[in-house]
Symmetry: C2
Subunit: 248 residues, 2 copies
């Protein structure tokens, strides 16, 4: 395994030495048709639980292929428990948000309908496909969970008491995220967390009051410019990761 | 001016009360053809120097229009001196980087050719057009300066002694950005700064050594995942802004 393997696939299956993995039609086409790989070529595989494994192509046809598992390259590492709860936005931007959030290391994508949300449907499978692709490319060993959309009121009503909320409020009354995250207690840092991002146009006043009233909420400011929802999400994740996540 | 003005234009001209502004063909088409605005409609204008001004459409035809300046809505605010020096990447991603960097508040975009840069040409006008559009949309009162591309060696050779460098090194030896920025001296915080981002595949070892040898350099880590160049740029700008820029 001295040569770097240039293809990484997420496959939700058990990985054991000498095990055989039957690939989906899409993966077979990608390996053979797109990447022109032949029998014997190396492929890395991860399943989100058992680390990353080197495999070789045992058999490849147009619509089917089999990998043989050679050995483990990387141990599974634990990752921060960080949910991104976000109001759905338009197609290109929501794809982008799922990709970038995965790259930046969130563990759970939760679409949330708010009063000012303009998008009526969210395709969770599509979000998940974007997350998988990003995980394969950024050398992550896991794929974030993607939940079905829910209403903000319902999400807050069933909010777990231990999960802290980093709420990026647009009214500038919050402290800077850097400062707010610097002054958390050690206990607060070890809790599971969520970042809450509103739609373009923001949460309405009732929603803001409800979020601020939660005892888990830490209100932060992302500065004086009007950030798009996807930009705000990326900024908030970066700030959280660097202050209390696994960028430390 | 009680009603919020929904159109903001960047126009590089002097702004004074009752002054008349002759618009470009593109702006005239945008106002009349795209936004369907008529004589008397409100438009906000900024020039990067004099704040934001309310104007009304004094005359509008298919290819020409004139605005009359009514009065100032916002004073010009000072902005942090933050350069983003980045290796050019592919077209869609470089457009995106210019837009997002503008939204996040950089003052200067400097494309830099490195040894592993795969893109041979950069259209600075195109970067500038993206920056203007983003500035108009995010309610910024300025547009970042966009410089012609330069070679990394030349850039470092003429680097101003007072401009600090936040260098996002991929080898993970740096401290987290949060920690590194938290421990700067007050004097260092007030210096002009630059964020230095490599191409996909990173700087080569010679380049890394040259950057690390600069006395202005602060090495930071953006965590264990492989970030795309545009993601790394956005993360770094967010961290800088929240720790020592104008998100405080």
């Amino acid at each position: 395994m001295s040569k770097k393997i240039d293809i990484r696939l997420y496959i939700d299956t058990t990985l054991t030495i000498n095990g055989l993995i039957g690939l989906s039609q899409e993966h077979a086409h990608y390996l053979g048709g797109v990447m022109r790989k032949k029998v014997g070529a190396s492929v890395a595989v991860f399943n989100g639980r058992d680390g990353e494994w080197a495999c070789e192509i045992a058999e490849i046809k147009k619509r089917a292929a089999t990998l043989r598992v050679i050995g483990r390259i990387k141990e599974q590492a634990s990752e921060p428990d960080l949910m991104l709860a976000f109001a759905p936005i338009k197609k290109a931007r929501i794809d982008f948000m799922a990709q970038k959030a995965t790259e930046l290391g969130v563990s759970h994508l939760q679409p949330v309908f708010t009063r000012r949300t303009n998008v009526e449907r969210v395709k969770s499978e599509r979000l998940y496909a974007n997350a998988i692709e990003a995980a394969e490319q950024c050398e992550r060993l896991s794929v974030p969970k993607v939940s079905e959309p829910t209403k903000l009121d319902d999400l807050l009503a069933s909010w777990p008491s231990e999960r802290m909320i980093m709420f990026c409020d647009e009214d500038l009354s919050g402290r800077s995220a850097h400062e707010a995250l610097s002054t958390l207690t050690d206990k607060q840092k070890t809790h599971p967390w969520a970042i809450l991002i509103g739609p373009e146009g923001g949460f309405d006043d009732t929603e803001r009051a409800a979020i601020r009233a939660m005892k888990q909420t830490v209100v932060v400011s992302l500065g004086p410019r009007v950030l798009r929802a996807d930009t705000a999400a990326m900024a908030a994740i970066s700030l959280w990761q660097s202050a209390i996540g696994d960028w430390r």
